[in-house]
Symmetry: C2
Subunit: 228 residues, 2 copies
């Protein structure tokens, strides 16, 4: 499903170049659940943004479901993202002037689902992560962890093939974290959804069967995890 070969990413920065990825090879098959770990600044979010078609690589190749997305026009890319991907951003990226419900409905509207069908699915997703009672709150009327859960509900509502979650439990206490991981696990086990989770918390990585570790823009280890 995800096939990265020799990926590099260079950010230009007033005369200097920042090499965020220095040659990453990563293949993820359909139905895998993978943890991506590594120090702050090691390139995890950069890699996720390329896999999630939110950014293009500087060098190397990336095939999503067999398609070379670096040649696809933006409009078609947006349709692929909406149809196949569920993305949980590290900074949530919620629309600040829209309610939690509207933020979760948005991917459904884009996919052509409207009216009460969209509202029902969005409410079900909010309930799955324990915040249905906040449906009409705006982001600045919610706590950090509640906003994070709206972002998770939005990522799962449209039944994606692939979920990319960047530190999805960073702002959550143990109980809320377990609830969120349970949602990912359920989608993974019941519907065969492929899940890639960036985390720096070892107990969250435990939910995955495979652990990829980045350092300074390279993969330094890629190991199956024996699950208890």
């Amino acid at each position: 499903l995800v096939d990265c070969r020799g990926l590099t990413k260079v950010y230009p920065l007033s005369g200097v170049e920042v090499h965020a990825l220095r040659g990453v090879d990563l293949r993820v098959e359909r139905g895998e659940m993978v943890a991506v770990m590594g120090p702050s600044g090691s390139g995890k979010s950069t890699l996720m943004h390329i896999i999630g078609c939110m950014d293009t690589q500087t060098g190397g190749s990336y095939l999503l479901d067999g398609v070379d997305v670096s040649n696809v026009p933006e409009k078609e890319l947006a349709a692929i993202r909406n149809k196949k991907l569920g993305f949980v951003f590290q900074r949530y990226n919620l629309l600040p002037r829209a309610t939690a419900l509207y933020n979760v409905e948005l991917p459904l509207f884009y996919a052509g689902v409207t009216g009460s069908a969209a509202e029902e699915k969005a409410r079900a997703a909010l309930e799955q992560v324990g915040i249905l009672h906040l449906a009409d709150h705006l982001p600045n009327q919610m706590s950090g962890g509640q906003q994070q859960r709206v972002a998770i509900a939005r990522a799962v509502v449209n039944d994606p093939l692939l979920i990319l979650a960047d530190e999805p439990t960073g702002a959550l206490d143990t109980a809320s974290s377990a609830e969120v991981m349970g949602v990912f696990q359920k989608m993974h086990e019941e519907r065969g959804v492929t899940v890639i989770i960036i985390t720096h918390e070892p107990h969250i990585a435990e939910f995955c069967r495979r652990k990829v570790t980045l350092r300074d823009g390279r993969i330094i280890s890629d190991q199956p995890v024996a699950n208890s």
Copy 2:
């Protein structure tokens, strides 16, 4: 230093009232290092904003260093915040169009420190949290954890009496977290700075001698922690 009695906070929300704090009593003496824990939505950030003079309580009383801050005009309050407090926000709250260096210098400029004296102190603070090499990056040219560390450098640069850190290690890996906690610990032990840290990570709470737990807007436990 911090004396809260019967604090309540009610957020009005289109016809409904959200009771974020339902009567909180909390006294923190000078030189204490306290962890504040509790589930997502339990009122931690709300309490910190009131202690940090960023918001006022609905009911109850709050004295900072013996002064009832709810009666102080905003301009004077801003001066008290700048002089006495170092605040690490849960969402970092960095100026998006300013470099890391400028973001850390800002509290110094406000306090009347300028030119090379301000730049030296700001660079020293960035170095303490391991990101001096990012001094001229803008926030959107840094990773999540790097932005968080800029926010921490900004909170400590002006030698505050009281540091309020809201989930300061949420986006950081183990090594960076240890570095940040080392900075707080050093200020606490060497200069007697009072530190209040909101965290949901038990190993971060271990750095503190006292653990306060919130649930649904109330303190349900307030225990000394036997440190190993």
